[in-house]
Subunit: 209 residues, 2 copies
DNA sequence: CCATGATATGAAGAATTATTCAGTTTGAGG
DNA sequence: CCTCAAACTGAATAATTCTTCATATCATGG
């Protein structure tokens, strides 16, 4: 997935030599660390450069401004998330819908809770930077993957596919995120995950469709 | 519900005379308008004062800093939301759980979509200001109200009340918010609302509990 | 109608921070 | 080893914005 950021947010140039690649990586890493530690409002270009071990000028060679830097960091992050969801969807093609849903919940749950502070910090920065377009792009990709997966379900009866898929997607992504933001963990989180699976299965198995 | 903000975010003083009340109201209103129009990053104390028709100094008589102002605006807003959820919960005491859930979904859906831009703008400002404690407080209040309501359900079989309630709350609030953020509206939103009700009812009616 | 505390004013001060650019260093290919 | 473009440097600039405070006006109860 190639960066197709809006003109104003595009990187200035891509690194060509090896040391330049290392520089850009260091800048990304420093940015994430600072977002986690102090949040966007405390993140200054000088501090990013400092922590990355380069000078401000260097940062400005690759990113025309702070906004573009944050955008790039989040684009890379969400890209990787989307890839994982797509992989799960490919993997479960042709299985019963209930199992698909369970796998999807597990995958998404994992991506959120693996590095909770990074998840939180980056999400927050997206909101602050008004970059929700990145989240939409993520949703478009995952929606497509999930729709394709569910269409291939061995027990697919073909009725109301659009509505059912939309409902499942909205509920699963919404509930997992909400659970995450409520700080559920351990026993509680595990129970909720199970209950969510039960609920989705009950929805799929309902009679009065 | 009296303001019990952390020391650092408390208003400097409450208005005593009538004209002071009007001033504070104007400041609140101006703040919300600016948040909706330009977002927090463009909101300066000068602009708030300007739009409220007072001078900066006046604003600083009531709020020690910008942070406290935003905090107060959101506190007032979430307070009102919580009251509406609590009202619904009181109203449906003793009914069947399925109907309660439906009523809850309707109420929450309404509060979100009534003034979508205000909802979005204020939520965003909470995130940017790192005031998630306000959202927790909101959750604590609504959780308590919903727990009490469900405990009174005419068809309550008493099993796993804690887990069931937590699941329903997390799913409903999460899904409604996610639907809202995805920009669902019209037909699509209405269908999703119905499906969400169906899903929750299916969960409540499931056999293998 | 007067005294006093409440309320309002807004120019000035202090601090922070994004961004540039003229100049230096590095590395890869010939 | 030489050349040239790529990469890097960081002090200086320019702009923005929060917050204060000395001063002025208002409203209310005695």
């Amino acid at each position: 997935m190639i960066s197709s950021a809006p003109q104003a947010l595009k990187p200035r140039k891509r690194p060509q030599q090896r040391r330049a690649s290392a520089t850009v990586d260091a800048i990304f890493e420093a940015t994430i660390q600072l977002l986690v530690k102090d949040g966007l409002s405390q993140l200054t270009t000088t501090r990013v450069a400092e922590r990355a071990g380069v000078s401000v000028g260097t940062m400005y060679q690759y990113f025309p401004h702070k906004q573009a830097l944050i955008y790039a960091v989040n684009e890379r992050y969400l890209d990787r998330l989307a890839e994982r969801v797509e992989a799960t969807c490919r993997e479960w093609q042709g299985n019963p819908a209930g199992d698909m849903v369970e796998a999807l919940i597990d995958t998404y749950w994992h991506t959120k809770t693996e590095k909770p502070d990074v998840t939180r910090a980056l999400y927050r920065s997206v909101v602050e930077m008004d970059n929700e377009a990145l989240i939409s792009a993520f949703a478009v990709r995952t929606d497509a993957a999930i729709t394709a997966m569910l269409a291939s379900a061995s027990d697919n009866d073909g009725s109301d596919a659009r509505s059912n898929t939309r409902t499942l997607v909205t509920v699963i992504f919404g509930a997992v995120r909400n659970s995450f933001e409520r700080g559920h963990s351990g026993e509680v989180a595990e129970d909720l995950r199970r209950q969510l699976v039960i609920m989705c299965r009950a929805y799929l198995d309902r009679h009065g469709r």
